[in-house]
């Protein structure tokens, strides 16, 4: 499987925060060839260990999350349609979309989010977004059938089969943040056959979209010296306003600098990127980064955290867009860092 195929395979899989097990199995399978051992813990986190075998070696933890944004079924109408709430989704993405219902009885089934028929609209109605509480999912069933198939509390996700756009760009759902897990795989690929002086812990963590719980758990268990959250950041789109904090698609890894992406750590990585001629971008992060680094930093006695981001357009939509060169450069930067950390390396 090529790197791009791995991104598409993971992105197409279904796993909302708290039920990432199907994605975890796929991710673990992809990780296995590169590490000494892989485990899936009770949260559904994937952890792979690649030990250098040297006493006193530092532990570098590289994290990407494997959960995705989604929806929760909150009701079944008397006509058999599903009512729902969203978790991290712009309601304007929904009318005319298809959703995947992760049912407890029949696995994944297709649902359709309808739109208000034109003849029931007043003039000007189409300038107002349809509020999510007015929307419903049509699963083509009667009330009785729907009740037998779907349970209140079942998750739903966007559906999308990832595809290519021009310029070696990939479009699909859940590239946030499974593409970043593939950046880790790429780094490991580049490290094949290399001698390291650092122990690596490679993570595909759960529940990031609702607070970074999976990453906290693994940080507690694995006790890293250094922990890097690899997550997506906003790439510039045509509808950005001047105040939007965006990075350039194709501009390379984005290194965050601030209290949650420790400035000394960030500077070392920048120097390394310059030395290795890896393009990079910088992002000012004065407080929370909105990534797993926020929860990892304060686990136990704390650890040095860093945030490296992959530029992504249309984040949290069914049509997120990334550029392959960015995926490769994030992977390269992480591999170079792993090779750079020796016994004398310090922050």
């Amino acid at each position: 499987m090529t790197l791009k195929e791995k991104i598409k395979t993971l992105g197409n899989a279904y796993g909302v925060s708290g039920d990432e097990f199907a994605v975890a199995r796929l991710a673990a399978g992809m990780l296995e060839p590169y590490v000494d051992r892989v485990e899936i813990d009770k949260f559904g986190n994937v952890a792979g260990y690649k030990s250098c075998g040297k006493p006193g070696a530092k532990t570098l933890m590289l994290d990407a999350h494997i959960d995705e944004i989604g929806f929760l079924v909150t009701g079944i109408t008397k006509e058999g349609f599903l009512r729902f709430v969203g978790m991290g989704v712009d309601q304007r993405m929904l009318p005319g979309s298809t959703l995947n219902v992760m049912t407890h009885t029949r696995g994944n089934i297709l649902g359709v989010v309808g739109a208000v028929p034109p003849h029931l609209q007043a003039p000007g109605d189409n300038t107002r977004a349809l509020p999510i509480e007015k929307l419903y999912v049509d699963i083509g069933m009667s009330y009785e059938e729907a009740c037998q198939t779907v349970r209140i509390g079942d998750y739903m996700t966007f559906t999308s089969q990832a595809f290519d756009l021009l310029g070696d760009q990939v479009c699909g759902k859940s590239l946030d943040d499974r593409a970043c897990f593939c950046c880790l795989l790429h780094a490991l690929e580049l490290l094949q056959g290399k001698t390291l002086d650092v122990d690596l812990v490679i993570l595909g963590t759960t529940k990031e979209e609702i607070g970074g719980h999976g990453a906290s758990y693994r940080t507690y268990v694995d006790h890293p010296d250094l922990a890097i959250a690899i997550d997506v950041c906003h790439a510039r789109t045509d509808d950005n306003l001047p105040g939007d904090r965006v990075q350039e698609l194709g501009g390379g890894p984005v290194i965050a600098v601030g209290t949650n992406s420790v400035p000394r750590f960030a500077r070392k990585v920048m120097e390394l990127a310059r030395a290795k001629q890896i393009p990079f971008q910088l992002s000012a992060a004065p407080a929370a980064t909105g990534t797993n680094a926020w929860s990892m930093q304060i686990v136990g006695e704390g650890c040095a955290t860093l945030v490296i981001s992959l530029p992504l357009k249309y984040m949290h939509s069914p049509v997120e867009v990334l550029k392959m060169s960015d995926v490769e450069n994030v992977g390269r930067l992480l591999a170079e860092l792993a090779m750079d950390i020796d016994g004398r390396w310090h922050l």
Binding site: T98, V112, G114, P117, G140, C171, R245, V321
Partner: protein, 348 residues
């Protein structure tokens, strides 16, 4: 349900085709391929209508035309921005709210493209309550400059929802363009049968842009005595809509129109055919709305005028990427169309 199964197979073929008004070639070609073994005469006129004649066991005194339209609603490239984004117009009416987050096929190369919005994190709740106008949206094909985009796309190129045919739920089908490939599919299925009387089948162009200009010139040519229009019509049997606003209901059978904004259908004919349908156990319902119009508008006033009926498959969420129909209704529409072709003649 074997009848519905055949129509479903044909529908799947036709829904995979793309064709907005003026660009119906791909749809027409697919229908020609399906119809050719069963047709006695086929022609394409100046507007791109495909007219298919099939001899029946008996001659008909005045021609009868069965009509459905081939075109679908879609998009057209209006401008390519400096940054390589495509500004667009709609071909036919599409609510801008159903465009966001959708995948499209762009231009003759069928390049993938998407319409989206910047990330939710960069918006306020107030902004998310506003629906952007079509004019403010754009199609992203991944091009980084106008020059790069122009290698693949030019102004005037049609674009389509990329939303495949899928079966789901209890006998449901979801796809783009079911309006009105479903009418075309029912007609092709009829063409494959032995017919009691000579019949013309009009696969019309240019329905979604108004004016029913495709059907008009076809009617002028054929001068039918009777016509039947087969459509996909809005089923509004969804939550928060009172029963009297449903217009029609899925799983309740073939929809029969009384009137709309383009035509008044022949009441004696409706009575005659529906009485027969009742006798034969064909499920049908009235269209409980007077909105919209169909190609009947052109067919019933062409030349010296014609009597006709408009029937339809109840279709949820028309004019977006996810039209939904029910197989049991398709069955009823085919039965009704077959009945019409058999019962409707001026022969002594």
């Amino acid at each position: 349900m074997c009848d519905a199964n055949r129509v479903t197979e044909i529908l799947k073929i036709l829904c995979a085709c793309d064709g907005v008004a003026g660009y119906e070639d791909e749809v027409r070609q697919a229908i020609e391929n399906l119809a050719a073994p069963h047709a006695d005469q086929m022609m394409t006129d100046a507007l791109g209508n495909l007219l298919v004649f099939k001899k029946g066991r008996q001659h008909r005194e005045k021609p009868l035309a069965v009509c459905a339209h081939m075109d679908e609603v879609g998009f057209m490239v209006r401008e390519i921005t400096e940054k390589g984004m495509l500004k667009f117009l709609t071909v036919g009416s599409i609510d801008p709210r159903v465009m966001i987050g959708r995948k499209l096929r762009v231009g003759p190369k069928k390049l993938p493209g998407v319409i989206s919005l910047k990330a939710i994190h960069l918006t306020t709740p107030k902004e998310r309550a506003v629906a952007p106008s079509a004019g403010s949206l754009y199609i992203d094909i991944g091009a980084r400059s106008r020059a790069e985009a122009e290698q693949y796309v030019q102004i005037g190129d049609p674009c389509y929802f990329d939303s495949p045919f899928e079966e789901f739920g209890n006998g449901r089908i979801k796809s783009k363009a079911i309006d009105d490939r479903i009418g075309c599919a029912v007609m092709v299925a009829l063409l494959e049968e032995e017919l009691p009387y000579d019949t013309w089948f009009v696969f019309a162009t240019n329905e979604e842009i108004g004016g029913n200009r495709g059907a008009l010139v076809a009617a002028n040519r054929l001068q039918p005595g009777h016509f039947l229009v087969i459509e996909g019509t809005t089923a509004c049997d969804v939550p928060d809509v009172p029963a009297h606003g449903h217009s029609c209901t899925q799983e309740k059978g073939c929809v029969v129109s009384i009137l709309d904004k383009g035509s008044v259908y022949s009441r004696p004919l409706i009575n005659q055919i529906t009485a027969k349908a009742d006798a034969e156990g064909i499920r049908w319902q009235y269209r409980r709305s007077a909105n919209g119009f169909t190609d009947a508008r052109a067919l019933h006033i062409a030349a010296a005028g014609a009597r006709g009926m408009g029937i339809a498959t109840p279709t949820r969420y028309i004019h977006c990427a996810v039209n939904v129909v029910c197989k049991c209704d398709i069955e009823s529409v085919l039965q009704m169309a077959r009945l019409f072709v058999k019962e409707c003649h001026d022969n002594a």
